[in-house]
Symmetry: C2
Subunit: 421 residues, 2 copies
């Protein structure tokens, strides 16, 4: 065979247009670097699965070996197992949403939900609205279908509705290109901020007025450390498309998420899912079902919440102690992340190698914007995975890197080589 | 909220172009109907997982509860767990392909591999070649990216290379729209035919000459009941993109497949997989790894082979006994399916309701062609799932339905109301 070189040379030409502009996830690329044992990673978004009791895993797994074996090992229906859907209905009821299995579709994590919804609804050039910064996995999912993503900034009360209205006025009423708005209302990733009740209501009014769908992504909703429960958008309007996942309340390794949506939305998602992966893992669905049925999962969830609460406090205390006055950051009531903003002349992407050398990693802010340019002076730091003393040490190391840069920048600033608007 | 009706009315308009022409899988739609207990289904493509010994499942599952718990419950890398990749390298070595974990990427079943490769390489209007009829899940995966699928007929030695050459001459050398050829060389789905050695070699020569990639989908390769092992295309050329799955040698419920391909292909697949589902199920990968490491899986595979062998023989015997002279069918050396061709005036889609009434189901042939028109006088029947006596009864019922139609058609033929070319 002589085809080796020919094909090798030509694969670049064969690549689809949609892939040409795709960026590899900075987080993923960092995983390799961050595996050095002396480095404390603040860049991940991982739950601490070591908090899960072994006995609960054993109980949850029992059914796949015993009475539900035939189901767990076989193909399932594309939309998922009805018993597992019922478990998710129960989880939804806890947070104030009444729904039925026929309005639930099970996905391979919430990431697949983002892909399937994008596949079902986005034509190249369509308009998608989202917080900016927003979850980079959502940006990756959307971008495969080549939309125009418009970002709306947030403040401490979540997405700014005044700026959303301005953007909608520019887009215009009844614009057929406007498809949906994507939001993480609780403890946003990467911002850590939570959308206020008033803004939730206003968002839904605007959705009706300007005719766009609302995708509510809620991976962290149950991980609240301060304040009271906020009513989900889905509880305020049946039209909302709600994305849930067990990744942060049980285990991401089981890749199980769900969509709650009107049937006419799910029928399209179901159609595209057939060609995407036929069906999800029956095995994982049976395990998930039994975890939430046979084990004291609420108690385990409380352990997650109290552990992360302590870690968030440790991180905020360390930030207060070590970070310079020039830095500002969000103070999340829950979730996994703090969003740090440095003076605008900072470039956190270029600073990352210095941080890595100092033994700490974070995700540079520009990863969370679709243009890859905005947010260069910001960063996302995670507090869910490392224990308090490690978080303290990590923030201390990071502060040192920032302060060294600050000193350098001050020299340039004094010399007039950097201009501040 | 008053948005309910507004959004309801408008979702149809919001649907993406790529979905408008999508057809729901006839097989999936049939699942509901076929759940009537008196109906014998020949329409599925399911392995008989009841043949898996409970002790093996228990052994395979042990690691996810014990020493590998932290890994099994956590996010994994996008391309999959290296230990599981090594297991697939060992499986590949058994069939004559030497490869390394860095050339393997783990997918959520082979279906996801089809989606990811399509996402990475197909622009709307690109040309994809495939056997016709071919696997309907592949047609669904491809069609989401709006290619022009050209089908090449097969005979008893697989895809006809003379017809492929004619088609390639029409497409032209160096045509940038020509991306890849998709083939199931062993016990093709739905055809049951196997590509001869001579044709395998010729296909790879044509791939080099006309510069297209070859996707070798091999779900059934290890389920051979007659004849000797055929060398995979991947063993003949490193450029071939090989798709494997555990669905037919272990359990489809674990949704684990793999791609073996040159690194430059995998890097693109990896990039699109990040946005599609982040990573596969670590849990399932650990279970799969331990199934192929800690259990006597070859012995279980032999049980699959001997059971399916017996069922294939039962089906072929029943076809010989009950089917009319006007029908012809393939005689597969392995796999799951027989392809039946009836006189050209038959319409197996419209006949399906009569078959269902008679207590048997099959998949109408037009499901396996991208135009949804070709193949109307053919059908796919499955022999892997039902025991011999049920297969015999199902074929008897189906023959009765066909014979009744034949009698009706003969009346029309005699009256000149149906013309035969």
């Amino acid at each position: 065979m002589t085809s080796a070189h020919l094909t090798f040379d030509q694969t670049g030409e064969k690549i689809a247009e949609r892939v040409v502009k795709m960026r590899s996830s900075a987080v993923r690329d960092l995983f390799a670097a961050a595996s050095r044992p002396d480095v404390i990673s603040l860049s991940g978004g991982m739950p601490d699965v070591s908090l899960l009791p072994q006995s609960a895993i054993k109980k949850a797994v029992r059914a796949v070996c015993e009475d539900e074996r035939a189901v767990a090992l076989q193909y399932g229906s594309t939309d998922g197992r009805v018993q597992t859907k019922q478990v998710f209905c129960d989880l939804m009821r806890d947070i104030g949403v009444r729904t039925k299995p026929e309005n639930v579709l099970i996905t391979s994590g919430a990431q697949e939900a983002l892909d399937l919804l994008s596949k079902a609804f986005i034509n190249p050039g369509d308009i998608i609205l989202a917080e900016g910064p927003t979850y980079l996995g959502a940006l990756q999912a959307f971008s495969a279908y080549e939309p125009d993503i418009h970002c709306i900034p947030f403040d401490d009360e979540g997405m700014r509705m005044d700026l959303l209205e301005e953007e909608l006025a520019r887009i215009g009423k009844g614009n057929p290109r406007l498809k949906f708005l994507y939001t993480i209302p609780n403890f946003q990733n990467p911002g850590g901020v939570t959308m206020s009740s008033a803004r939730r209501k206003r968002l839904l009014e605007l959705a009706a007025e300007y005719d766009f769908m609302v995708l509510e992504d809620d991976p962290y909703g149950r991980l609240r450390y301060d304040g009271g429960h906020m009513v989900p958008l889905k509880a305020l309007s049946d039209d909302v498309i709600y994305l849930g996942t067990i990744s942060k309340v049980f285990a991401p390794g089981l890749r199980t998420g769900w969509i709650v949506a009107p049937k006419h939305v799910l029928s399209k998602v179901n159609l595209v899912k057939q060609g995407t992966d036929l069906c999800g893992s029956s095995f994982d669905q049976v395990v998930v079902e039994h975890y939430f049925t046979d084990t004291p999962w609420q108690k385990t969830l409380q352990k997650f919440v109290s552990t992360y609460h302590e870690r968030r406090d440790a991180m905020l205390a360390a930030l207060d102690e070590y970070f310079p006055a020039e830095a500002s950051w969000t103070r999340p009531d829950g979730g996994f992340f703090v969003w740090v903003t440095l003076p605008e002349y900072f470039d956190t992407a270029s600073m990352l190698s210095e941080a890595l050398e100092a033994g700490v990693t974070y995700v540079p802010g520009d990863s969370f914007f679709p243009d890859g340019k905005t947010g260069k002076n910001s960063m996302r730091i995670n507090f869910s995975f490392a224990p308090p003393e490690k978080l303290n040490e990590a923030i201390k190391r990071l502060a040192k890197v920032i302060n060294e840069r600050l000193e350098l920048y001050r020299v340039f600033l004094d010399a007039g080589a950097i201009k501040v608007d």
